[in-house]
Every structure is written in C-alpha cells, then in structure tokens.
C-alpha cells in the first residue's frame, strides 16, 4: 500500500525537483529563516548532545601515581565499550531490563487492550468515569507513583504484607526474587491507562458499519472484538509496543525510588541507573559509553520489532 503510493508520486516529484533548482537561490533565505527555529534547537539540544556523548565514550581520564591532581584525557578508541560489556554488573542490568520488558510489556498491553475493548463495547456503562479512572495513574507524575508504591511494598510499612500476614501469608515484596515483579507491577500500574487510551482512540476510529455488518452476519461480541477490532487496531498495538520497549530500556525512576526502601536493590540495577552511578563517581566517559550501548539496544529492539511485524504484515 505505502510502496504503491511512493511509486505513484515519484515521477511528478522528480520533475518538480528539476524546476525547483532554478528557484533555489531566491528561496534559500526564507527557507533558512523558517527552518531555523527548528534546526537550531534540534542541533543544539539533540544532535550536539548525541555527538558529545559519542565523543566522550571514546576517551578516558588518565591519572598516574597517586593521581591526586587533575587527570588528563586520553583517546582510548573502543576500550570503554569493551570495559562496559565486560562488566558483569552492566551486562546484568541489560539482561534485567530485557527480562522485565519481555514479561511486563506483553502483560501490560494485553491488559490495556482488554480495558480498551471493554470501554469500546456497546454495553459498557459509565464509560467516561472508567476511562478517567484507568488513565489517572498516568496523570500522576511517575516519581510520585513510585514513591507511593515504595511505601506500599516497604517491609515494616507495607499494608499489603501486613494484610497478608494476618491471612497467614508471609510476603516480602522487596526480597531479591520479588524486586523485578514489584517493579513490573509499578510499571503496569503507571502505564496501562496511557496505552489503553492510545488503543481506545484507535478503536474509536473504526467505522460503526463494520461492527454492524458483522452483527448482521451473526458474529458475536467476542467475534467482533477478536476478528474485526483487534486486527484494525494493530498499528496502535505496534506503536504502544515500541514505546513500551523504549520505556523499559530506560527504566530508572521506579528502581531508584525503590532503592530507598529496598537496600538490596543494587545501584547498577538498570543500565541508566548504572550510567548515573558512573556520573556520581565522576566517570563521565563510562556513563557516556553505557548510554550509547543502551541507546543502541533500544534502537535495535524497537526497529527489530517494527521490521518483524512489517514482514509478518506483508505475509498476511
């Protein structure tokens, strides 16, 4: 569909391009003027920091002897990358966000899709109230949500474990094994409503005739949801998946806040946490390297996922 569109427009566009070159000189100034408000901040706040990060990742501060005077910066090529990837703690943090994402993202999106379908169903009452209620956690600043949850799970303060204790269950929501599920729960709580809203708006765009026609043909509500609505909101599902993958790779707020009540959560729990840890230790080069690796990972994962679903889409 899209490729066909490109082919159709390619011809006239090329011809127009030839005509345009003649006018380019006269047009240059206004074009530059109109582009400047975008290009200058884009270069200053987007390209320059990325470039500087890449640059920093190729250097290392070098000291000698006791090293109690100002260090010198030396070029080390890709040695920082070898060090970061050779660091078991950092590799562990990458693996950890991958695992959390692998479990949490599908669960959350299934949940979001379910809620969106329920909201979209004809028979649902109080739609506005529910829509707002589900969306509310996202409206709360992420850190506030994380602080709230950290108190809800903190040993000694948690009403959840206290209640479970009365039922004879000995829960510890911040034990080593429970850290990842607890963080997954915080993420799901905070982001389901946001994803639900994206899917819900996609559902709203589906013409009512489709459902009507299906009902006439004897399709059940389940059937309509599964055979008509879900395939039609596929682009929204792809979008929310990509956002969620990137979001999980950048996990920081939740573990950083949880660390205050769970000292067993290490300060290299997630890649960004590890990079921040390196900044605190005045090792900006290591922080830059870890950031680049994380950005590459998020890039590969999200584009890999896009390619995967596009190929599948073409096969269907």
């Amino acid at each position: 569909m899209t490729t066909a569109l490109h082919e159709r427009t390619a011809g006239p566009a090329r011809a127009a391009g030839a005509r345009r070159t003649g006018r380019r000189r006269r047009r240059g100034r206004p074009v530059a003027l109109f582009l400047a408000p975008f290009l200058i901040p884009f270069a200053a706040f987007y390209l320059a920091p990325i470039g500087y990060t890449l640059y920093q990742s190729l250097f290392r501060m070098h000291r000698s002897g006791l090293g109690l005077t100002a260090p010198t910066q030396v070029f080390v090529g890709l040695a920082n990358y070898a060090t970061a990837l050779g660091d078991a703690d950092f590799r562990g943090s990458l693996l950890r966000v991958l695992l959390i994402g692998l479990v949490q993202v599908p669960l959350m999106l299934l949940f979001a899709l379910g809620l969106a379908l329920l909201l979209d169903a004809k028979s649902t009452l109080f739609k506005r109230v529910f829509r707002l209620a589900f969306f509310l956690p996202y409206a709360l600043p992420g850190v506030v949500g994380a602080i709230m949850w950290s108190y809800l799970v903190a040993p000694g303060l948690s009403p959840i474990t206290t209640a479970a204790h009365h039922l004879g269950l000995h829960l510890n929501l911040t034990s080593d094994a429970m850290l990842a599920p607890t963080i997954g729960n915080m993420l799901t709580w905070g982001w389901t409503g946001y994803n639900m809203l994206i899917i819900y708006s996609a559902l709203q765009a589906i013409p009512a005739e489709l459902s009507e026609a299906a009902t006439m043909d004897g399709c059940s509500a389940w059937g309509i949801a599964w055979r008509i609505k879900v395939p039609l909101v596929r682009p929204a599902l792809v979008l929310t998946t990509v956002f969620s993958i990137i979001g999980t790779a950048q996990l920081y707020n939740e573990p950083a806040i949880l660390h205050n009540v769970a000292p067993n959560l290490s300060s290299t729990y997630t890649p960004i946490y590890a990079a921040y840890d390196a900044v605190n230790a005045d090792n900006f080069n290591a922080a830059a390297t870890e950031s680049v690796i994380l950005a590459l990972l998020a890039f590969v994962l999200s584009f890999g996922f896009l390619k995967l679903v596009q190929r599948k889409g073409a096969a269907l």
Binding site: T69, P155, S266, A281
Partner: protein, 439 residues
C-alpha cells in the same frame, strides 16, 4: 553566495545569543569571579546541605561588609550534591566554597576540582586538631578548612533497655552481641540494633578496629578492604546477621525511625551528627533516649570510631581563594559560628578552641537532659587519627552500600562483599592509570 553568508551570519547571531543567555544564567548561580571586584565587595558562593550553615553565613556577612557569602543549599553529598559540585567544577562555574566530607576530598582532588589554598591557610593550621588538618591536606597541598569530626556512640532507649533486662549499655562488642540475643529472645519482633546500608557508618566500625581501607606507600596506593582486620569486623556483623539478631532497615529510612519510635529497634551506633537526626525523626520516646560510648573490642584498651567530618573546601577556578579561605577559617573557629553549628548542625568541632564552646555543655532534652557531648569528648582521644580515604571513594562507597544492603537480605555476606569490592576498586584504580599494590 551573498544570501548564504547572510543566513549564516543570522544563524551565528542566534547561536551567540543562545550562548550569551546560557552564559548569564550559569554565571549567576555559579562562579563569583566576575561580580567579585565591583565596589570593593567580594562576593562568594557556598554550596552545602547541612542545616545551620546558612545561619553561620549570615553571621559572617553581618561582620564582614567587604566579603559577602551566599549560601546555596544543595542535595546532600551522596544524594547528588557532590555530583553537582564536580559537574560545575568541570564546566568551570563552580562556587568558591563547598561543603565536602573528608572521605570525598581525595576524590575531588583526583578530579582536579579543588584550589590549592596552602599559602592562605598556613596560619590557621595551629587552630585545628592535627589529624583533621591532615584530612584537608593531600600530597602536601591544603584544599580547605576542617569543620568537624564525627565520633561515634551508642544512642539507645534507656527505658526499653531496662524493660528487656539490660541494666547498663554494652561496653564491648561481645556484650552487644549477648544483649542482641537477649532482646530478640524476649520478643522476636524487637531488635537491639539495625544493620543499615550506609557505607560510611560501616567504615566507622572498621576505623574503630584499626581496619583501614586505603593507604599509600610512596607513590603507590594500597587497598586493604579485604585485610584480616577488616575480615574480623565483617565476620562479627555477619555472625549477628546469620542469627537474625539485627533489624535490616535501610540507614536513615522512614522505616527505621518508625521502628525506633515503636520500640522495635532499641539502639543505633552512629555519629555525633546523627543525635539530632534521631531526635527530630523519632516521634515517640523523647526523653527516654540516652547516649553511651560506642561498644569497643577491648575494654582495657578502648578505641572508638569516626563516621564523617567535613571541610569547607575551595573549589577549582575560585578567583578569591584568599577571601574564601578567610571565610572558611572564620566559620570553623569563630565562637558564635561554632555555637550555632553545634546547636543546629550537631557538629563536634574540629577547631581546638571549639572544644571549650559552651554550647557543648548544654543538656539535651530528647536524651533525658544528658550532656551528650561529654560522651563524644571522652571518646575523642581514643579515636585513631591515621585513617586514609582513597581516590575513588564515591564508587567504593556505592559498592559497599550495595553489598551491605544485599547482606541484609542474605544476597551476599559481609566478608564476601569486602572481597568483591576490594577486587572492583583495585581494577577501577588500575584502569584509571593509578599505581596500586595488592589485588
């Protein structure tokens, strides 16, 4: 061609404008050099987090019309304050003055973030305890003025100790372990103390046992985190953890103060500056608390620990190092300033004149009217003065803190943690090009 050069000029103009704008904003919060000389008044910025510093600054400004200091409150050092200072020093707009702990000063020196004030500070040297002067002097260069030292003691609930049959606070660590078992046996939900995750508090326990973490020999570092002396301390605490005789709330966390308030945690071994923190954080039990000397390894030959102590350091790029040193010296030695710092900040002064300050003789109502500084004063001669901090303390402290937290939940043990951090620290130092002995 002409058109292009015009648009280029326009773009440059915009970029310059942007640079000027950012330059201004960072200048106002940062360096004091530019505004300094105007009207003969030297303006200095001072970053720190301790409560009470602002009042000492106000006192100074009242009596020194030609030097005006502005105190900016930052997050505490370990919670981002040091990162902010180091980043500002790197960017060239650091304040002249900063509150920096002795433990972090070598890291600041290693980052090249300090100004050598040896020539201005020389006269002040005789006014301070020798070892505190050593803490601010690195490789022969003095980088700031000491403010305080931090002897450790046992802060405990007198009434609850009596309730669980502990007639007098434990004098030795053996007694401490026995009391911990006694309390826990009487009520399994109650603990004598808490095993937190504050690496510097743990360092104080090692300090007491003469178990140094770092040392230098010639031009080479020695890392001794995993020494036999350190393993002895680690083994003791691991023993208590194995028997589940200690609570494992995070240090300075709301859950710890909740447990202290409800009588689930009966005591804390902590530094002098923690006494006012406990007083303000624990709601119930005011007047029932007391301060006793820290338990020792050998009652016949007592030695105590130190957890903290900080300096007013002069940061890189300070254009008024002389005035900055003058202020820092005044803040640590002036009787009014020291009184204020003792009362509000809870410091134990590094200046020898400060030890006679009347504020140290004031009874504390939270601690049942006890003159708590007497305890710290008696300990001071028995605190080792040859502790050395390493050049990578931020990283080492984070790693030790992580390990303590994990030891609390059984993820590792304290002895194993020390071995791991030793290896990591040596590797990190070697990678930076430092010469290190032992591995």
């Amino acid at each position: 061609m002409k058109a292009r050069s015009h648009s280029l000029a326009a773009a440059l103009a915009v970029l310059t404008a942007a640079a000027v704008v950012t330059g201004c904003s960072s200048g106002s919060s940062g360096t004091s050099d530019s505004a300094g000389a105007s009207g003969g008044v030297v303006k200095l910025d001072f970053w720190g987090w301790a409560p009470g510093y602002d009042q000492s600054v106000a006192l100074f400004n009242q009596t020194h019309p030609n030097i005006q200091v502005t105190f900016d409150k930052t997050a505490s050092g370990g919670k981002g304050g040091y990162t902010k200072m180091l980043t500002a020093a790197k960017a060239g707009n650091a304040p002249c003055l900063a509150q920096v702990g002795y433990e972090t000063l070598p890291s600041f020196a290693a980052a090249g973030a300090l100004t050598d004030v040896t020539k201005y500070a020389g006269d002040a040297k005789s006014q301070f305890a020798d070892w505190t002067w050593k803490q601010v002097t690195i490789s022969g260069q003095t980088y700031g003025i000491p403010v305080d030292t931090a002897p450790m003691a046992l802060m405990y609930r007198k009434d609850l100790f009596a309730k669980y049959g502990i007639d007098k606070p434990p004098v030795t660590w053996d007694e401490y372990a026995a009391d911990a078992a006694k309390v826990h046996a009487a009520d399994p939900t109650v603990y004598l103390g808490d095993f937190g995750n504050d690496s510097y508090n743990y360092a104080g326990l090692a300090w007491q046992a003469g178990a140094g973490w770092f040392g230098t020999s010639g031009d080479q570092w020695q890392v001794t985190l995993n020494s036999a002396a350190n393993q002895k301390v680690a083994g003791y605490w691991q023993g208590l953890l194995d028997k589940k005789l200690l609570k494992t709330d995070p240090s300075y966390a709301p859950s710890l103060y909740a447990d202290m308030g409800s009588g689930k945690v009966l005591s804390d071994v902590n530094a002098v500056w923690d006494a006012p923190i406990i007083a303000s954080s624990v709601k119930d039990g005011a007047g029932q608390w007391a301060v006793a000397p820290m338990p020792v390894w050998d009652a016949a030959n007592p030695a105590y620990g130190n957890d903290g102590g900080s300096a007013t350091a002069v940061l890189k790029g300070c254009g008024h190092a002389k005035e900055a040193t003058e202020f820092a010296t005044w803040m640590s030695t002036n009787a009014d300033s020291v009184s204020n710092l003792i009362k509000v900040t809870g410091i134990y002064p590094a200046a020898t004149s400060g030890l006679g300050n009347p504020a140290l003789a004031a009874p504390d109502t939270f601690y049942g009217g006890q003159t708590i500084f007497d305890v710290f004063k008696a300990e001071t001669p028995h605190i080792s003065t040859d502790w050395t901090w390493g050049p990578t303390m931020t990283q080492t402290a984070t790693d030790v803190g992580d390990g303590l937290g994990q030891a609390g939940t059984g993820g590792t043990t304290v002895p194993n943690m020390l071995g791991a951090v030793q290896g990591k620290t040596v590797a990190a130092m070697k990678q930076q090009g430092l010469s290190v002995a032992g591995g």
